[in-house]
Structures are given as structure tokens and as C-alpha cells.
Chain length 472, copies 2
């Protein structure tokens, strides 16, 4: 028996668009955070018109609405925690317009991030934001979380590359924003709002010219602290490489065992550096960076010799989380930031917290941005370990906040971290954000239970029911 | 006799902070757009606490509130059009914190733009957004209008350099935003909101490393169209100089007569180009740009030989509007944008519009950004000329919109252009922006009559009562 909600969707949009059978809905119940909940219905629309129709029907039926890209989010942002309607953008995955001369493209939200750069590489241009998930994650999902990535160090995050947005508001009306227009910057407001303000149906993105030369280098260090000191010195010297990534010994060994990319397996930590520009720039940049690295204790410095080696180093780095599967049944990846000058100190603190809780920890992070990703390794079948992970994760967040940092670098808040928002915003500020939400979606039907604290717990991190979701 | 509003302000803040005598208030009645109106009171606060107290008193008395930087705005954004309270930030002009290593500063809104860069030049860093008014305009005012400037071509506008904001909301409560925090991007929302969402009391800004080498070059062309073609070709070639400015013959002659900076006086148009980077970058960049300019008809190409010559060229360019005083009793400066590829076409159209209305027009503009500043020259004592300027200004805006452009590049909307917002936004979109405003300032007491159309006229440009305000 179909619900009247599903029936109305079927009447309006047909069986090609609407999914209502439990076996079809199971795939929309979860994302990479494993809280899961079956929706009442899902749609796979062809265009914005179909999205708007579905939003209006959901509104009339009082059903919540959750937009879904590729479901790679680590914080449960695409989980239909209250059931309702999931809108999958799997079909809306085209480049609608490409303007090479003005270097901009209009794309649909379901377009895979890397597919965009691959399609335009022939024209000598690329889309800069490159989350490690870029092989599978979508531009729409990237817009929702304001996704970062290794190269955001010099190019900025997603918000710096979005020129305009088409979206459906809570009443089912279609709107278009542009950063070129006057009035309030609604484009910037929509980026990072995790589907709580509007359902994005098209994105205008900025494209960049591919650099003439790229060098990718690897330096080995005795430990993460000294690698962090080198990063701090590089930034302090006013040099901005296109990427500055650190992996600790545990991660490096797992990655190298899996990918054989050429990382020094016995190093206490490795620093992955990319420099781009003209051939002269890249050569001069490498010389300057190698000198600073050596001054700060680098044991070795090696540049990839060709594109194949460069690609291998990056593929291994971006696949680091997956490689952890070799050494642990489960891991919990945290996402937090500190000012870059405090990196050595925070690495020391994370190490101490993990030791206190008797948990192995791996560190792989965007060092140049001060964006940490400690991976706490555990076995979810052991209750003590699950409790220790929750406690350690909270301590790490509080430590980062105390150092002037914040609770998320790029993964978003989603379902997982909503209670921690109270750690960085006052009730007044949260209330103001809630009223901003009401402007766009007065029924608060878009992605409920995401971003905003439930109100039940203030300043406390809720124990996520499904912690340990991220099985490697 | 003091109003009860002024009396309450005096009781709370004292005579050192509060201005209430008409002769003291006269200076707060206008900005560089000459609609003028005496406020009921003005304050010159020392800190955010005094601002918050004044906002609460104004709220209780039902008085509107207008924040004021240096009063250099060209669109009437600081005019107290309904009287009420003006908050002058003349006293809140300090650098509160400077963090050279992380390249950020916390400044008060009354700090003069150029004073910031001058104060930190010794540390090898600068604040990038550089409106032509930077010698006198304030960071707070720049934040209000999301000010651009010649160097925003490569560095981005004010919004790309604001890391956080402290502001007082419509209830008199103090808040702080940061782009590093999660949740909605309220920092970006506040930038460009022209004082309608909150009264900014502190700004965290990003600082940049001064480039190793800077070259400033001047190319002469036979006309603006061919100079525009060269700009379009430079952008199309994927080269981004730090500035790409065009002045037509009328402006070049006025500027050169006034400043003797070394511009070719007999050129039909000049292109001012700046390239920055390493010494090698700058040399290679100049060679590439000179070659493109010559291919597109440049009659000459000359690089300034030293810092003195570079400074002279920039001082003259940034003083262009002032130099018009040599040739005209009054001018009206328009601010609009088109996609850069359509520059030659729009320059042709502006010329035709000015000819139709029998008005001389000068063009000085940020060509690399597609940001036009046609100056229509007239005598405000001639009624026919005033009417012609209004009609021509509207036609120019409509032409830019039809070419895919927009109604303001950097001056803001303010009082002057509020009716034109209906040309680019639907009533629904304007209503959504109005509701966003209500979140921050439910009484709509902050800067009334600015940005939003009055509703009386839809799609029509209102005849500004005080057109011709901008006397040179």
C-alpha cells in the first residue's frame, strides 16, 4: 500500500521519477555516516521543474525533504532522519553551459566533481575545489558543505568558486542568485547551508587556468611535530604552495602498503607539497620550500619525476581514509581546525588525548590550512572503545576551540556535529541563524535535524547512536 | 531645545560623544551623493559598547540609525534620509590587533583604508582592496559597499578579505562572526549590506604579502573599443595582471593636465596595466601583455621606470574623477558591469547613448573586471541637461543588464539606485531579502531608504532629487 504522499508524487511525476518501494528506498536511508532511516519516498528528477513540484507536494503533506548528492558525506547530512522525501540528483549530472573564454560553467548539482575538471581539461582549465572524495562526490554536495580539499590552500574553498545558484525555496518557488548582482549575498549564504535553506538545482562555477608547471614533492620527518613546524615556517615565510599535506607514520605505512606510491615508509611523518605556476616559479618555489624543510629537520626531499608519479602520490593521499581498512575494523574521522601557528601544539595534544583513552590515532591533514583529520581507530563491537572514541573526539574538538580553532574544516556539521554548534555559537546567534532559515524555508522542512542543535543539550556533544558507522 | 531623544543620548553617553546642535549636525547631513537631510542627533563613539547603548536608545525612541564612515559614498548610503541618528566612526579608527605571522588584523571600522596598508608595509604585507577613494574612505564603509578597486581584478573585492565581523544588531546586542566558524556564512551576508543588517564595530581582515616586483605600464590606443579588445584578449589568454584600467581621451587629457603623470595626452584611449610577482614573473608578464596589446593595435607601450613614476601613474588614475573639475561644472558617475567579453560592444553603446542625449561622456573604468564608470558631464543649472543625464544613466544601466551585466560594480546601491534593484530582482527575491533584513533588524531602523526599492516604482529609475550632487 502506497502512502497518500507517495501516490501524489507518482501522479505528478510518474514511476520513472518516483521511488516508493522499501527495497528501492533502502539505498537512500544512509550516507557515509551510518545513522540510517528509511524515507517515505524518493525522487530522481530530470530538472528543476520536477524538484519544485515535489517540494510543493511534500509541503502540502507535511513531509520533510532531504537533498542527496552521492551520499559520501561523513556527518550524516544526507540521512533522512525523520523520513519524508529524499531528492537524489543522480540524473541531474550535466554541464549545462561552458563558457571557456569567461572561464565559467553552469552545471547541475549531481555532476561528479572530477567529471567537471576531466571534461574541460582539453581547454586548459579546471575546477579548483578538490575534496578527497572528488572521484565520487557531487558539485551539489560540495556546495552544501562548502567542501575544501588539498588545493584549497591556495585556491580557496567551494564558496570562492561559486558564482551563482538556482534553487527551490520552501514554498516550491524557483530562484536564481548571482555574486554579480547587488543586494545581499545570498549565493554565499546558500553555500555551506547543507540543504537547509533551499534545494540547489543548478550551480554557476568559476573555472581556472591550468598552471604551466606543477611539482609534487615529498619530505620525510622524524615526527608530526617537526613536519608541522616546517609548515608553520613555510606559511610564515609568505610562501603559499598549492598544497601542504601531512601524514603521520601510521597513515603513511597504511597508504604505502596499499598504493605503493613512493612515500618513505619508515618516516615518522611525511609532508606532501605541491607548487604550481610557470616553470620558473615552480623551480624557484621548490628550492625555497626544500630549504625551509631542511632547516626544520627534513630527513629527505624528493620531487616526483613525471605526471605518473605525481598522480600516484595524490591518489594515495586522497585514498588515505580507505587504506585504513588494512589496519582497523572501524575508524572515526574528526574534522577540526586550529590557527596554523598552533599545529605543533595541537598535534601534541591529540597524541596525549588518544593515549589517555588508549586509542590508536592516525593523522592525515591539510596542514597548510590548519585543518586536522585525526582518525581514531577502534572496534565497534567493543563498547568501551566506542565510549572512548566519543570522549576523545569531544576532547579534541574542545582543545581545538580553546586554541582559537573551530569544529569543522570542510566536512560540514550535518547530523553528527549539530550539538557541538553550541560550543562555538551563543543561543542568540543560533536563534538568528534559525530566523535566516525561516526566510527561505518557513516550515523548516528542508533537511531537519541537520546543523542546528536539538536544544535538548547545550554545550554537550551528544553520543551519536551510530558511531562507528564509517567502516573502512 | 533638545529633543527627548538627544537628551537621552546625552544622559547616557555625555557631550563628548553626542552631537545635537544644528551647526554640529550639518556635517552629517550628506555624503558624496548630495541628497541631504539633517539628523536629529549624531554620536562619535569610542567603542562598541557606546554604539550598542545608542542603538537601544534609538530603538526605544523609534529613531532610524545611519552608520557613517568617511562620507565618500557616491550613492547616498550615509545620508540620514529620514533624520534620526548618525553614528560616525571617526574616532574608532585604530588597528586593534596585528598578527603578522598569520597575516590578519582586527581593525575598527573608522580606520582609513590606506592607513592600514601604510602601517603594515614595514612588515612586507598589505590590505588588498583599494578603492580609488582609499586615501579617505574607511574600512567600515568599504565593508558596507563591498568596495572594489583597481587591484580587485586579481585579489578580489572586500568580501574576499574579511575574515570576521563584530556588529550590533537591531536590538542593540553585540555579535561576532567568523568565516572560520560553521553554520551559515553571516560574515559574507554582512559585507555589502550597506548598514541595513547591523552596525559594524570591528572587522577582521586578511592581509597579503607584498609582491617582490611590480611593473606599471601604459599603452596608447586609437580608441576605447580597441583598448577594450586588448583587455578581452588578455583575459581570454588566461593572464591575470594585478590591474587593467582604461581611460578614454577626455579623461586622459583631464588627468594629465592636472597630474602630469606621464600619460600620452593625444591617445584615443590608454590602458594602464600592473603586473606583480617575482622579478621573473613581472618581466615575463610584461612581455606577454605588451605583445597582446600590440597585436590589438597599441600605438605605444611604456613601463614606469621607478617607484616614483609608478606612484604618479596610480595617483593620477585614482584621482581621475577629481580631475574632471577642470572641464565640467558637474558630472554624474555611473557604476555598472558587463561580462568582459562584451566590453567593446558596451563602449560603443554608451557612446551612442551619450550622443543621442547630446551629453559629453568620459570613460574611466576597471576594464579587467568589466566594471564601467561612464561620467556624464553636464551643468546642473540647465534643466534639459539634468533630464538628459537621468535618461542616459538609465539607458546605460538597461543596456548593461541586457548584455548580461548588472547595476553596480562597487559603489553600492544606497539611496540613489534603490529603485533600479527592481530591474534585476523579482518582487519575490526582494521580499526574501527584506525578510533576511528582519532577522537582524526587525524594526528596519538601520539605514532606511537604502538598497530596497520604495515599492512606489517598479522597474523605473526614480529621478534623483539631487542629481548632479557630485560637483567636481
Amino acid at each position: 500500500m502506497l502512502s497518500s504522499f507517495a501516490s501524489r508524487l507518482l501522479d505528478a511525476l510518474g514511476p520513472d521519477v518516483v521511488r516508493a518501494a522499501p527495497e528501492d528506498l533502502a539505498v537512500y536511508a544512509f550516507d557515509a555516516y551510518s545513522e540510517d532511516k528509511l524515507p517515505s519516498a524518493a525522487i530522481v528528477p530530470h530538472d528543476a521543474r520536477e524538484v519544485a513540484i515535489a517540494v510543493r507536494i511534500a509541503r502540502e503533506c507535511g513531509e520533510p525533504i532531504v537533498p542527496r548528492g552521492a551520499g559520501t558525506g561523513l556527518c550524516g547530512g544526507a540521512v533522512p532522519s525523520r523520513g519524508g522525501l529524499v531528492i537524489s540528483f543522480a540524473r541531474m549530472n550535466r554541464i549545462v553551459e561552458l563558457d571557456v573564454r569567461n572561464r565559467r560553467a553552469r552545471v547541475q548539482p549531481g555532476l561528479i566533481n572530477l567529471d567537471l575538471s576531466a571534461a574541460i581539461a582539453g581547454a586548459g582549465i579546471f575546477y579548483a575545489p578538490d575534496p578527497s572524495s572528488q572521484k565520487i562526490s557531487t558539485i551539489g554536495g560540495n556546495v552544501g558543505t562548502n567542501a575544501g580539499g588539498p588545493h584549497c590552500l591556495s585556491y580557496g574553498t567551494t564558496t570562492n568558486h561559486v558564482l551563482g545558484i538556482e534553487y527551490v525555496d520552501g514554498n516550491g518557488a524557483l530562484h536564481h542568485t548571482s555574486i554579480d548582482d547587488s543586494g545581499y549575498d545570498l549565493t554565499g549564504l546558500l553555500v555551506g547551508s547543507e540543504g537547509t535553506l533551499g534545494i540547489v538545482t543548478e550551480v554557476d562555477v568559476r573555472l581556472m587556468k591550468l598552471p604551466e608547471a606543477v611539482r609534487v614533492c615529498v619530505a620525510a620527518f622524524t615526527d608530526v611535530e617537526s613536519a608541522s613546524e616546517a609548515v608553520s615556517a613555510i606559511i610564515g615565510a609568505g610562501i603559499v604552495p598549492t598544497a601542504l599535506e601531512i601524514m603521520d607514520a601510521l597513515i603513511t605505512r597504511a597508504v604505502e602498503a596499499h598504493y605503493h606510491a613512493g612515500y618513505p615508509e619508515n618516516a615518522g611523518a611525511v609532508l606532501l607539497v605541491e607548487i604550481a605556476g610557470t616553470h620558473d616559479d615552480a623551480a624557484a618555489g621548490e628550492a625555497a620550500l626544500a630549504a625551509i624543510a631542511r632547516e626544520h629537520g627534513a630527513l629527505s626531499w624528493r620531487a616526483a619525476r613525471d605526471q605518473r608519479e605525481r598522480d600516484a602520490l595524490w591518489a594515495a593521499r586522497k585514498g588515505a581514509a580507505g587504506a585504513i581498512g588494512r589496519i582497523a575494523p572501524n575508524y572515526y574521522i574528526q574534522d577540526a581546525c586550529v590557527p596554523r601557528t598552533r599545529l605543533p601544539e595541537v598535534m601534541h595534544a591529540i597524541d596525549a588525548i588518544a593515549r589517555d583513552h588508549k586509542l590508536p590515532v592516525g593523522n592525515v591533514f591539510h596542514a597548510g590550512d590548519g585543518n586536522l583529520h585525526p582518525l581514531l581507530i577502534f572496534d565497534r563491537r567493543e563498547r568501551r572503545q566506542v565510549e572512548a572514541v566519543v570522549a576523545a573526539g569531544t576532547e579534541i574538538l574542545r582543545t581545538c576551540i580553546a586554541m582559537g580553532g573551530t569544529i569543522s574544516g570542510e566536512h560540514g556539521i550535518g547530523y553528527e556535529k549539530r550539538e557541538t554548534l553550541s560550543l562555538v555559537f551563543s543561543p542568540d546567534d543560533l536563534a538568528a541563524m534559525g530566523r535566516v532559515r525561516d526566510v527561505f524555508d518557513p516550515m523548516r522542512a528542508f533537511n531537519p535535524d541537520k546543523i542546528f542543535p536539538s536544544g535538548a543539550m547545550c554545550g554537550e556533544v551528544k553520543t551519536p547512536a551510530a558511531l562507528g558507522t564509517a567502516t573502512a
